[in-house]
Amino acid sequence: MPERDYDHPDVVICPDGPLLLRNATSVQDADGVVHDVRRPVVALCRCEKSSRLPWCDGTHKVIPRG
């Protein structure tokens, strides 16, 4: 089978989970605070219940799915 290229998006929305963001250098949160990014991939909270916004801390898993 010949080699092919693969999708490798910079923004990935995880079902019932965070938004993964690749190659970002800084992220501004809802309060206008700018956070430096030191990782190749970060997970941004989408449920708004994280204890460390704007980052995901897994809290969405203990929230009942509507």
Binding site: Y6, P40, D57
Partner: protein
């Protein structure tokens, strides 16, 4: 690190065989008990990580030593697979179901939580005991997983490297996870040198380490290795936050809390990379690995349950 203190006739044979490169006069005996057997296999696996100051480096590939390792690995794998059989193994119909099957396995896991105990009730001695046990793995965190890289197809390989790069500090030695843990041990007065607490390790602790080494060392078990990684990452973020709260409650915050704090954020990312980009694509590219991935994930959860059960029982918690 020096060779560990033997716990029976088999680990005694292993330790003296590694200390002296010459072929042994007597064949390796059967193990006295599980404790003896797990320490013997742990010691043999360690030859492929950092080794021992007082062992001959050539022993790693010595046929007589490998023969014993093979015997112990076969017994371990049979034990792990029979537990998966008894638990009623899940099988996925289509490889694309692997990420959701992993999620279901993790969601159904009802083992006791050490992190809950640490957060609310554990005393200082119990937390120190837990950290000594955890140090056996955390001081070489991610190393067994690194062995799997060359054995994966394109997408899973790239995704594993994306995850491992973060585990290894994104190029900064100060942020290497095993280094963060070592700094944490120093800060709370525990020993931080590699393998410091192996003589105190419970057989459950050794078996957790042996399983991950077995999966990492054998190409055949690459699916199980990646499933184990996924379950590990998927059960890390929330418990790490509880560990931070418990450590701070006991005035053990600082660098050790920082280690767990790093895992709250990192593993909230890694769990998605592991379940979807690593295990999901591996199952699509090599469909026969799908059920192996689930076996590996089950093993991770099951061994943690066994470890937590024994530790909590010893504390009457």
């Amino acid at each position: 690190m020096r060779l560990p203190k033997p716990r029976g006739v088999l680990s005694e044979w292993v330790v003296s065989r590694l200390a002296d490169a010459r072929p042994s006069a007597a064949a390796a005996p059967a193990a006295d008990a599980w404790d003896d057997e797990s320490l013997a296999l742990w010691t043999l696996h360690e030859l492929s990580y950092r080794g021992f100051e007082d062992a001959d480096e050539r022993a790693e590939w010595d046929p007589e030593v490998l023969h014993v390792r093979h015997r112990l690995e076969t017994a371990l794998e049979e034990r792990l697979r029979s537990r998966w059989e008894q638990a009623g193994p899940v099988s996925v119909g289509v490889p694309s179901e692997v990420p959701s099957a992993l999620e279901a396995l993790v969601a159904e896991d009802d083992g006791p939580s050490l992190a809950d105990h640490v957060r609310r009730r554990a005393d200082r001695d119990q937390v120190l005991e837990l950290l000594r046990q955890r140090s056996v793995y955390h001081l070489k965190e991610s190393d067994p997983v690194a062995w799997v890289v060359p054995r994966l197809p394109v997408r899973a390989k790239a995704a594993l490297m994306e995850l491992q790069y973060d585990e290894y500090g994104d190029g900064d030695p100060n942020r290497l996870h095993s280094h963060l843990f070592a700094r944490g041990l120093d800060a709370i007065g525990l020993r931080s040198e590699y393998g410091a607490y192996v003589d105190d390790a419970l057989p459950e602790t050794l078996e957790m380490n042996n399983a991950v080494s077995l999966f990492g060392l054998h190409r055949r078990l690459r699916g199980a290795a990646m499933g184990h990684l996924a379950a590990f990452e998927m059960t890390s973020s929330l418990p790490s936050r509880k560990m931070v709260q418990g450590l701070e409650r006991l005035d053990l915050g600082g660098p050790m809390a920082a280690y767990y704090d790093e895992h709250v954020e990192a593993d909230a990312i890694h769990e998605h990379l592991a379940a979807r980009d690593i295990c999901g694509t591996l199952a699509e590219d090599e469909p026969e690995q799908a059920d192996e991935i689930l076996f590996g994930a089950f093993t991770c959860l099951d061994l943690e349950t066994r470890f937590a059960t024994v530790l909590l029982a010893s504390w009457e918690a």
